[in-house]
């Protein structure tokens, strides 16, 4: 295990090397691995990760679903500094957002409380299993906790099909991601499947 993340760029390049066709006499080989086309992406929520992805010519996934602060700056920097690579000719920026879509806004807001509670519990250092939704989040979080969690989860689209569609339409028009990744902590897997189906319907209407 590497003690320092300063080793990260070298580790990424070492990993890329193992996926190349092996050179004659190469002693350390990844088998299986050598000569295989496994796309490498860089993930991050910092300007550093954006710059590294740009420099290495890799697709970049930004963690705006829980660390949105630098999203616009990071994506702009990534696109500006991108250098084409064997893997990727032009920048590919994927933005991650939370979506809680349900039959109506009230039900979606209720489902969202599972994720809000999880983030409050993280602040309180009381991490645990995924909790059921609650009726009134204001009974649960303090005003200070509300401010922090609301900022961290600001890239969340919560509501009926119409509400989420309007929010996504604005987000996609403003930030023009090359791909959208959808996250969200749900307690009930059936509610997550329902949200997924609504999201797919919205995607098809946005065409």
């Amino acid at each position: 295990m590497n003690a320092s993340a300063d080793q990260f760029p070298q580790d990424v390049q070492e990993l890329q090397f193992y996926f190349q066709p092996a050179e004659p006499g190469q002693k350390i080989k990844a088998i299986p691995g050598e000569g295989q086309d496994v796309p490498i992406w860089l993930l991050g929520s910092s300007l550093y990760s954006a710059q590294l992805a740009a420099m290495l010519g890799l697709p970049f996934a930004f963690a705006s679903h829980f660390a949105p602060e630098l999203m616009e700056q990071a994506v702009a920097l990534y696109r500006e500094r991108f250098t084409p690579s064997a893997q990727l000719k032009k920048p590919h920026a994927m933005l991650t957002v939370n979506i809680f879509a349900a039959e109506n806004d009230a039900e979606a807001k209720r489902l969202f409380t599972t994720m809000q509670v999880a983030f409050v519990n993280m602040l309180r250092d009381q991490r645990g299993k995924v909790q059921p939704p609650i009726d009134n989040i204001d009974d649960f979080w303090s005003p200070q906790e509300k401010v922090w969690v609301t900022e961290k989860l600001s890239r969340s689209f919560v509501g009926s099909k119409e509400t989420v569609e309007q929010g996504l339409r604005n987000f996609l028009a403003e930030h023009k991601p090359d791909e959208l990744m959808i996250s969200g902590h749900f307690f009930d897997p059936k509610a997550r499947l329902r949200s997924l189906a609504i999201t797919a319907a919205i995607r098809d209407r946005l065409n």
């Binding site: 295990m1 070492e14 193992y18 645990g128 996250s183 307690f187 997924l196």
Partner: protein
Amino acid sequence: MIPFSILDLAPIAQGGTASDAFRNSVELAQEAERLGFQRIWLAEHHGMAGIASAATAVVIGHVAGATKTIRVGAGGVMLPNHAPLIIAEQFGTLNAMYPGRIDLGLGARRAPTSLPHGPCVAT
């Protein structure tokens, strides 16, 4: 429209187990595939009571084995936790099993302080 994809943490709900979480992740991936999502990624987190995807490559193999066309990947592997050779072998193995369907997203956990060829603007 741009592609839509899914990030899954294989959540363990109150009253549930890791086995339940993997069943739910498979069902989510199958439904995402049916609905035309581009990829589903699992994330490496450790020591979290509510997240079952710590052995990320193992879970990716399980989800890829239960689906046919959707891309499956890591979102991400925290590279400082591993020797790069081991990750190349794990994802080379997955790609040999499910050719052309495997993605390898990499995270650093925290921003390092320098770029390989120059100073960092900020972290």
